[in-house]
Symmetry: C2
Subunit: 227 residues, 2 copies
């Protein structure tokens, strides 16, 4: 527990990259770290406090002593490697499982990009640059991506997680999938994703790090309902 005292996290509620780091910290039994929620809406991710740790002005901004890890995959890899014998083992030794884990983990970033392209289109693209054709293409690309993951889950043994017993791939992927359902993804059309979601949502590391504003307003959105 004492190691966690030298850790600090600046984070924003509901951000998949922040959530990943929080899940990894729970999995490695590193509770008790300092953390401070910041508001994206108020632009606090561009504050001096963040920029000193993360010059990109993004959250998370994570420190372990003097070591800085702002990219969520980097932070997760580091935590697993530095705390191998503490909490749950997140990188499998078996070569086939390890390959699948790394592959899915990194594909998770493409998934996040495609989600963001749809969900944050109007937030990111200036009004005069918006096109219905781009919106439509982004939605098609996200549908293709979702079907890919539905297919990946179809291929793994029933009831198991993405690449074994909750390794790093799930830490990276779960927030994407929770996000997709929060934004209205159809349980009927994506039954494997829905099953994965319901299998993992009550896992202690995930429950402990659940986005507070989702608890405060459980009602989500319907942006993705027709995908």
């Amino acid at each position: 527990m004492s190691m966690a005292k030298s850790m600090s996290l600046l984070w924003g509620t509901g951000s998949p990259p922040c959530w990943r780091v929080m899940i990894a910290l729970e999995e490695k039994k590193l509770q008790g770290y300092k953390r401070k929620p910041l508001s994206f809406e108020k632009g606090e991710h561009k504050s001096q406090e963040v920029l000193e740790i993360n010059p990109r002005g993004q959250l998370p901004a994570f420190k372990h002593g003097n070591n800085i890890l702002n990219e969520s995959c980097a932070a997760c890899l580091y935590l697993e490697n530095q705390f191998k014998c503490q909490g749950n083992k997140l990188i499998p030794d078996n070569p086939a499982e390890q390959a699948l884990m790394y592959q899915r983990m990194m594909e998770g970033l493409a998934f996040t990009d495609k989600l963001n392209s749809v969900i944050y289109y109007e937030w990111v693209v200036p009004e005069e640059e918006r096109h219905d054709s781009a919106v439509k293409r982004n939605r098609t690309d996200l549908t293709t991506e979702l079907k890919l993951w539905e297919d990946y889950l179809q291929k793994v043994a029933a009831g198991s997680y993405l690449a074994g017993a909750f390794p790093l791939a799930d830490v990276i992927i779960f927030p994407n999938i929770a996000y997709a359902f929060r934004f209205g993804l159809s349980v009927g059309r994506y039954p494997k994703l829905a099953k994965y979601y319901s299998l993992l949502k009550d896992r202690p590391s995930i429950k402990a790090s659940w986005p507070p504003h989702w608890l405060a307003s459980p009602q989500g959105f319907d942006i993705l309902k027709d995908l």
Copy 2:
């Protein structure tokens, strides 16, 4: 050397993700793997041969036995972990070096995205959706990104590599930087990037994997010359 015989790589010349995997294979002394160059221009990355390995229809498509690793960072992490005692050690043990290595490695993907947004704008964005304001913003974002890396290199000890003695971060980052200079980046305005480039370009693993079509036509482009 025998392990390399069970490896195969479908790749495209000049693609940074493909190049990364090839550098990592050289660093781990895994020469002798099967490889087949495919043409992006002819759309061969969307061929059945690729789709069977990489359903995203992207290169690289890499196999080690039955293990599939298409995401470049995933392939590099896997190769280092599976061949720890062979060739060069790519992940440092020292916690501070390891943190910096993972952080820069993952930031390298943001660098690639920003390069692609400028270099491939017309290739990716349909004509009726193009905007001068978007082109300008993408160029500004890339300039900010390049200055960030110039600054990172300023902060490391003179003459050293990004995060130590050629660990994984350099494997991921070098192709980005080579790409930037290939597309006309100013040596004068980015002296640290230029120094990094010239320090690494003759490293055996990089020389052995240098994009063949760059050798065939050493003249680059000037898309980035004014950044």
